[in-house]
């Protein structure tokens, strides 16, 4: 049950939304009335509903199956969070209402901030970043603002070579040169290389911990001390916070800034790619530079600081419109309350337990580049596939036919043909057993020489493998009416 593009289904004159006829008034558009047609298709409500229901059924989703997806913490998205996010008086507030009419909303933000600070053991939190990468930007901007406030201009940021791809991009946007620190054989950062690279021109270090190999950086406190010693700051990428909730507080490790992916650790739904939210906890050293706005609490209840003055005089500025991703705040707070201190700790324990269960379940079939206990994700390389003609990608596509989303592939880059698997705490042992069984079955098939099977996978998906190269070479990024005849439009639809 497929559905053509919405543009291929319209008949002019239909409508999917009823509304009152506008009263005739004298136009005040200042002569700027639109003249030509826009080109949107007209459909009825049932058509639109069916179209998107059909589209949805082409998607995989957590609700339908397991995502053994490293580095992305795809876990259960509770429905109560969706329900409370839609309550009248929460989901429908206008951001510019007088603060006296939104005291509950401000209390909610304040309350979420308290949870985040307590969980991380940090004294401050910037709530407004809209996503993890946005949070990184916030953290590194705070670092740069702090250096500038001291009149220092530093140029380098140290980043381990296994870092998330957004780390270097973020540093670059803040005007820093990225200096990559190699990894040791055990998958942690090479401390000697790190020491060597440190110096008075180093603004800070950006470390993911647990790192992208699924390992805890055992020297983390030392790293913090060393970077502080040269006057730099310690940015910790919080993408993997799920693994250590309630077990260790980043604040106790010397962290100066860490973003928290509410859409990973605190399960606001991924939504096919957003929206997310990436609040950033900050140390005392960085707190004065936090972005506006933030919530304060005084005698007259809660208030908002929206301008760079007074309490926010040193703020590095505003990162987005209004007050942050309120819809995500609601969901994350509901998630936290549902877990509580006991549940949050249980999350970390079960997440790590599950990852190690998978590691052990596959260790005789797949090679782990780093030995011993892993944290929340298990990392393997492609040495098993060597000589089979089957690549990590082929294996991943064959997983689709087994009913699973592929694992994360080719990341971290430090491992050849990497496969990174993060089961999360919300999967049952039965699911893990089935998954391990399916993987073993596939690996046996691969080593038995059934290469063709993998090359033709997936067979049982809405599409076979898609021509991504062709898509990039001749980009068709929008639909164009077949009747469009002028050259420009024709060029847009060249490949359609």
């Amino acid at each position: 049950l497929e559905s053509p593009l919405i543009f291929e289904q319209g008949v002019p004159g239909r409508v999917g939304v009823d509304m009152a006829d506008p009263e005739p008034v004298k136009s005040r558009l200042g002569g700027l009335e639109r003249k030509g047609p826009i080109g949107l298709p007209d459909l009825s409500e049932p058509q639109v509903l069916r179209h998107f229901v059909r589209l949805s059924r082409q998607n995989y989703a957590i609700d339908a199956g397991f995502y053994p997806l490293g580095s992305c913490t795809m876990k259960h998205n509770p429905r109560i969070n969706e329900k409370v996010a839609r309550l009248a008086g929460l989901g429908d507030l206008h951001p510019m209402q007088p603060t006296s009419t939104v005291q509950g909303a401000l209390e909610l933000i304040n309350s979420l901030a308290h949870w985040l600070k307590t969980i991380t053991g940090m004294p401050a939190v910037a709530m407004s970043p809209a996503a993890g990468a946005h949070g990184e930007l916030c953290g590194v901007m705070a670092i740069r603002a702090a250096h500038e406030a001291k009149g220092e201009s530093r140029t380098r940021i140290l980043v381990p070579e296994s870092a998330h791809g957004t780390n270097p991009a973020t540093a670059a946007l803040c005007g820093y040169k990225v200096d990559s620190v190699p990894a040791r054989k055990d998958g942690r950062m090479d401390m000697d290389a790190f020491a060597e690279k440190l110096g008075p021109d180093v603004a800070g270090v950006m470390l993911t911990n647990p790192n992208t190999c699924g390992l805890f950086e055992t020297d983390v406190k030392k790293i913090a001390d060393m970077v502080h010693e040269v006057g730099g700051y310690f940015y910790c990428d919080g993408a993997n916070l799920n693994a250590i909730l309630g077990r260790v507080r980043p604040g106790d490790l010397g962290v100066d800034a860490m973003h928290i992916n509410l859409h990973k650790t605190f399960s606001t739904p991924h939504g096919g790619g957003g929206p997310g939210a990436g609040p950033v906890v900050l140390s005392d050293a960085l707190a004065p530079f936090a972005p506006i706005p933030f919530v304060t609490h005084g005698e007259n209840g809660f208030d908002l600081v929206e301008q760079k003055s007074g309490a926010a005089a040193q703020s590095f500025g505003r990162m987005k419109g209004y007050h942050g991703q309120m819809g995500m705040f609601i969901r994350a707070l509901a998630y936290m309350q549902s877990h509580g201190a006991d549940g949050l700790r249980q999350i970390a324990e079960d997440a790590v337990l599950n990852a190690n269960y998978i590691r052990v379940g596959l260790q005789d079939k797949l090679n782990s580049p780093f030995s011993g206990i892993c944290m929340h994700e298990a990392l393997f390389d492609d040495s098993t596939l060597k000589g089979t003609g089957v690549t990590t990608l082929d294996l991943a596509k064959a997983m689709i036919d087994e009913g699973y989303h592929p694992m994360t592939m080719y990341f971290p880059l430090v491992v050849h043909g990497a496969m990174l698997i993060e089961p999360t705490e919300s999967e049952s042992r039965q699911t893990l057993d089935q998954f391990i069984g399916a993987m073993r079955h596939l690996l046996d098939k691969a080593t038995a020489g059934e290469t063709e099977y993998f090359l033709s996978a997936p067979l049982f998906a809405p599409r076979r493998r898609l021509d991504e190269t062709g898509a990039a070479r001749n980009p068709v990024l929008r639909w164009v009416s077949p009747e469009a005849t002028d050259n420009e439009d024709a060029s847009l639809s060249a490949a359609s």
Binding site: F52, Y322, L477
Partner: protein, 447 residues
């Protein structure tokens, strides 16, 4: 605990299989002195019933704008979101799916993104659009960065009538880069003059239409001037419904359109999450930040969609990245696409016409009040009035009467005495005649 499947028994069995004795053994890599012994100083887990009650209590401490006459705008607009849109985005397959990196099992998300890109391109009058940004303000900042990359120039001229949040976010984003801005002061009653600032050093001019004060301008001449100087024109639109009635930025010569899509499909939600729009000309597409979805075929020749041109993105070319944006506004862009599909050509134009007529009717009623001055010569669904008193005080008093009577300009442009009495007033299809009459009567009392 309801979300966690393991029983204590299972945990023991799993530990045995892993070959360790206790859960603590999984965490030995954490420096001993940093390991938490007890629980965090936070409440214990709560039932769903209690959590729901907690949030109902919080909600009860707020005034829902849908329960009272509401005339708030300033970049976020109260519209009716069709129930179909909210229903669809709650479908498991959209709500709980991952970023569509595996296109074979993500065609739903991808086709919807392709439709989103097309819709945004059509309404803005541009050739291509990306698969969304965080919000209008960040989209504006990214547009400026993009213009600098395209032109290889370093200065952006920013209209004084750009939404202050958009200006602030652009400043924040640019502050540690090699790029800088030239900021014009607000111009409420006079026309803005860009001529003196446009020269061969300028990467772009950023203007908003309708502008922050609600005024509409024909930007065609400005676009020509920009192009003559080798600069780009960036047009910001934060009330996309206006595009159903007003000449599109593309028709006026814009090179990049940065917009806020909240009005279509996205609830007000106290300011976020929203959905940033970014559209441009085909020739600039490789400098455009954010995700892009493209059409292709599968092995069987069937049409399909994939994320494409990702070499532009941060996760491939790292420090040469065009932007650090990663997650975008997926579900909000889906809501936008659904609402826009429901509206279609006839619906969007009618909705725009209805919004405009509502605003005109309200403006006429307000103009009749003594001491109230309408400052706009043109507007779409929002305009600025000057009150004979401090606007913040007036709004507080209206609030006590249960009326959300607009946004005082001074909340966004403080410290400017000229702005103290100015009030932004918006009227959409959600206002009834009696809402307007209540507002006008209450304002009369307050003044």
């Amino acid at each position: 605990m309801r979300y966690m499947p393991h029983t204590p028994n299972e945990r023991e069995e799993m530990l045995a299989k892993i070959g360790i004795g206790s859960i603590d053994d999984l965490f030995t890599d954490i420096p001993e002195e940093a390991r938490l012994g007890g629980l965090l100083d936070l409440p214990l887990h709560e039932s769903e019933m209690v959590v729901e009650k907690n949030f109902r209590k919080l909600a009860a401490k707020n005034l829902s704008p849908y329960s009272v006459p509401c005339f708030l705008g300033a970049g976020a607009y109260q519209h009716h979101v069709p129930s179909v849109a909210d229903h669809i985005i709650q479908r498991s397959e959209f709500l709980t799916s991952y970023t569509p990196y595996q296109p074979e099992i993500s065609q739903g998300t991808l086709q919807a993104l392709f439709e989103f890109q097309t819709q945004v391109a059509l309404i803005t009058g541009m050739e291509v659009a990306n698969a969304s940004m965080y919000d209008g303000a960040t989209s504006c900042a990214e547009a400026v960065l993009m213009a600098c990359r395209v032109t290889r120039r370093k200065k952006a001229v920013i209209s004084g009538n750009l939404h202050p949040h958009y200006r602030d976010v652009t400043h924040t984003t640019l502050q540690f880069t090699e790029f800088e801005t030239i900021d014009l002061p607000p111009a409420v009653t006079v026309e803005e003059r860009f001529d003196d600032y446009i020269n061969s050093d300028i990467a772009c001019v950023v203007v908003q239409n309708p502008d922050f004060f609600g005024r509409l301008d024909d930007l065609t001449a400005l676009a020509d001037k920009c192009h003559d100087a080798g600069a780009l024109l960036v047009v910001v639109v934060n009330e996309v419904v206006s595009l159903g009635a007003v000449k599109s930025p593309g028709e006026m010569g814009a090179d990049i359109v940065a917009g806020e899509g909240q009005s279509i499909g996205v609830p007000l939600s106290f300011g976020g999450p929203y959905v940033g729009l970014l559209a441009t000309r085909q020739k600039f597409v490789r400098q455009m930040p954010g995700r892009l979805c493209g059409q292709t075929v599968d092995q069987n020749g069937k049409r399909g969609f994939v994320l494409t041109l990702s070499t532009r993105e941060q996760h491939i070319r790292r420090e040469k990245a065009t932007s650090n944006i990663c997650t975008n506004a997926g579900l909000c862009s889906l809501a936008f696409t659904i609402h826009m599909s429901l509206l279609g050509e006839s619906g969007l134009t009618k909705l725009a016409s209805l919004n405009h007529s509502q605003a005109v009717i309200l403006a006429e009623k307000l103009e009749e009040l003594e001491g109230v001055e309408l400052l706009n010569t043109s507007f779409f669904n929002e305009f600025t009035i000057r009150l004979p008193m401090n606007a913040t005080t007036a709004i507080e008093k209206l609030g006590e009467k249960g009326i959300l009577g607009g946004v005082p300009v001074s909340r966004l442009i403080p410290d400017d005495p000229d702005m103290a009495n100015l009030l932004l007033v918006a009227a959409t299809e959600t206002c009834t005649t009696s809402d307007m009459d209540e507002f006008v009567a209450a304002l009369k009392e307050v003044l």
